[in-house]
C-alpha cells in the first residue's frame, strides 16, 4: 500500500491526499499560489520541485528545459513521493563568489570570471542575478559549462548609463566578493536529439549564453550542424572572433558568421543584421532547434520568423536582454 506523500512548501509540510492534485492540497492549506484553468493548459500554476523529480504527467506540454529543471504544473500533479516545492520566482539564498579575472574582450565588453565555494547548480546559458555589496542587482547570462574549477564566466557590456556595468568595468577589483542568486531561465541545451540542426542568433553580449550553449552541445557530443550568427551594430559588440573561428576549424559541424549592421563601417565581416542573414540562409527550419539571445526586438522578430519558417514553438529558446531605461 502506497504511503501518502508529504509536501513541503517553505515552512509548511502537509500531506497530499490520493484524490487531490498538488494544487488542491496547497489551496486546502490556505497557501496562495497562482492558478488558472486547472487542466494543465494555461501554465499559471507552474511550480518547481526542489528535490524529487515530479511525475512525468505533471510536466506534459512544458518546454524540455523546464522539464529538466523539475518544473511541473501543480493542477495536474499527483505526487507519487515526498516533494519539496517552490514557486518559479521564489529566490533561494544568495551565495558568495569572488572575482578572479577581469579582461576586456572588446572596448565595450568585459570578461568577468567569478569563483564560488558553495555547491552551485546551473546550465550554461541560464542567468543569475549578481548583487554588489551595496545591494544593486543586475541579471547576467552564464557563458560557460559547469566544470571542476567552480567558476562562472560572464560577458558584461558597458551600457551608456549603466550603473552596474560601468562599476564592473571601472571599479570592481580582483578578489571582491559578489553575491549571486540561483541560476534561472529556460534558454539552455538539453541532451538528446543529437543529430538535430541548431541555429543560434545573438547580438552583442547575447553571445554569452550562446557561447555556453555551444560549449555544452559540443561537450555532450552533439552531431547535427550548429550554426552561430553573431551580430553587432559596430565593431565594439563583436568579440571572441578568433576563438569561434578556431572552434569551427576544430569541429566540422560548427559554423560561424560574424556580421556588422551599422552604416559606413569598414570591416571584413558580413554586412547586415545577424537575424536577417541567418534566416535568409536557411530555407526551412522544420526540425531545427533555435536559440535567440540579445536585443529584445531582434529576439521577438526572429522568434516569429523562425516559427513561420517551420521551427516548432517547443524548439525555440529565447533570452531577451531587457535594459532598464532610466538607470541601467
Amino acid at each position: 500500500m502506497a504511503t501518502i506523500p508529504r509536501i513541503t512548501f517553505g515552512e509548511a509540510t502537509f500531506s497530499c491526499q490520493p484524490d487531490e492534485s498538488l494544487l488542491d492540497s496547497l489551496l486546502r492549506q490556505n497557501i496562495q499560489v497562482p492558478f488558472g484553468c486547472r487542466q494543465g493548459v494555461c501554465q499559471a500554476c507552474l511550480m518547481r520541485s526542489i528535490d524529487a523529480a515530479p511525475p512525468e504527467s505533471a510536466q506534459a506540454g512544458l518546454k524540455d528545459t523546464l522539464q529538466t529543471q523539475n518544473f511541473f504544473l501543480a493542477c495536474v500533479c499527483h505526487p507519487e513521493q515526498d516533494m519539496t516545492v517552490a514557486l518559479p520566482n521564489q529566490q533561494g539564498a544568495f551565495i558568495e563568489a569572488n572575482v578572479i579575472k577581469k579582461q576586456l574582450l572588446s572596448p565595450d565588453i568585459i570578461h568577468l570570471v567569478l569563483e564560488y565555494q558553495t555547491p552551485f547548480n546551473f546550465f550554461a546559458g541560464q542567468f543569475v542575478n549578481l548583487k554588489r555589496p551595496d545591494g544593486l542587482i543586475r541579471s547576467y547570462s552564464i557563458a560557460n559549462i559547469p566544470h571542476a574549477k567552480n567558476v562562472l564566466e560572464f560577458h558584461i557590456r558597458r551600457l551608456p548609463k549603466g550603473q552596474f556595468s560601468n562599476w564592473v568595468h571601472e571599479e570592481l577589483k580582483l578578489g571582491t566578493a559578489l553575491s549571486l542568486s540561483a541560476a534561472q531561465g529556460a534558454c539552455h541545451y538539453v541532451p538528446g536529439r543529437a543529430t538535430q540542426p541548431l541555429l543560434l542568433i545573438g547580438t552583442g553580449s547575447g553571445l554569452a549564453p550562446l557561447y555556453g550553449i555551444i560549449a555544452d552541445a559540443l561537450t555532450q557530443g552533439h552531431q547535427g550542424p550548429i550554426h552561430l550568427f553573431h551580430g553587432s551594430r559596430d565593431l565594439n559588440g563583436l568579440y571572441f572572433i578568433d576563438e569561434l573561428r578556431e572552434l569551427s576549424e576544430k569541429f566540422n559541424n560548427f559554423h560561424y558568421v560574424a556580421s556588422i549592421s551599422g552604416d559606413n563601417i569598414d570591416s571584413k565581416h558580413v554586412k547586415g543584421r545577424a537575424n536577417d542573414i541567418a534566416l535568409a540562409s536557411i530555407d526551412s527550419l522544420s526540425g531545427w532547434r533555435v536559440f535567440l539571445c540579445g536585443h529584445p526586438e531582434m529576439v521577438n522578430q526572429s522568434k516569429k520568423m523562425a516559427f513561420m519558417k517551420g521551427a516548432s514553438m517547443a524548439d525555440i529558446y529565447t533570452d531577451a536582454f531587457h535594459v532598464l531605461q532610466a538607470d541601467s
Binding site: 487542466q39 493548459v41 494555461c42 506534459a60 506540454g61 522568434k303 516569429k304 516559427f307 513561420m308 514553438m313
Partner: protein, 130 residues
C-alpha cells in the same frame, strides 16, 4: 492522426483523431496559418507566442472533443476586447477555414473534420459576444 477509414464508432472523436499527440501535431500548423492569414492575424499579433500557442492548444483540444472545461463566459470575457476591435462573423469563418485546412493537411478524414467543425462552431456566439 488516424488515416484508417475503418475506425470503430465506439471510440470517441478525440480518440479517433489521435488524442493529445494529434493536438500537438495540429497546433503549430494551425497557429502558423492563423499568423499568416492577413484577414485575422492582427488579432493574434503582439502577444506572447508561447501563451498564445497554449491557448490554441486548449481550443483545439476542445474542438477535437477532448478534455476541457471551457466556459462560455470565459470565452466572452477573453474575446471582448477583440469584439471592440471589430471581430465579427467573417473573422470567425476565417479561423474555421484555417482549422479545416490544418486537419486536411494532416489527412484527417472529412467526416471527422465535419465533427470537429461542428464543435468549434458552438463557440461562435460566445466568442463574438452575441
Amino acid at each position: 492522426m488516424s488515416n484508417s477509414p475503418e475506425t470503430t464508432s465506439s471510440q470517441s472523436l478525440y480518440e479517433q483523431l489521435g488524442g493529445e499527440a494529434a493536438v500537438n501535431a495540429a497546433v503549430d500548423i494551425f497557429y502558423r496559418k492563423v499568423l499568416s492569414d492577413y484577414r485575422i492575424n492582427r488579432f493574434f499579433d503582439n502577444s506572447d507566442m508561447e501563451k498564445q500557442a497554449a491557448k490554441q492548444k486548449a481550443f483545439l483540444t476542445m474542438a477535437f472533443g477532448g478534455p476541457n472545461n471551457y466556459s462560455g463566459q470565459d470565452m466572452r470575457t477573453a474575446h471582448a476586447r477583440f469584439v471592440k476591435m471589430g471581430l465579427d462573423n467573417s473573422h470567425f469563418d476565417a479561423v474555421m477555414e484555417n482549422l479545416c485546412a490544418t486537419l486536411s493537411e494532416l489527412n484527417v478524414p472529412q467526416e471527422l473534420i465535419d465533427q470537429v467543425s461542428a464543435i468549434a462552431e458552438t463557440t461562435r456566439n460566445d466568442i463574438l459576444g452575441k
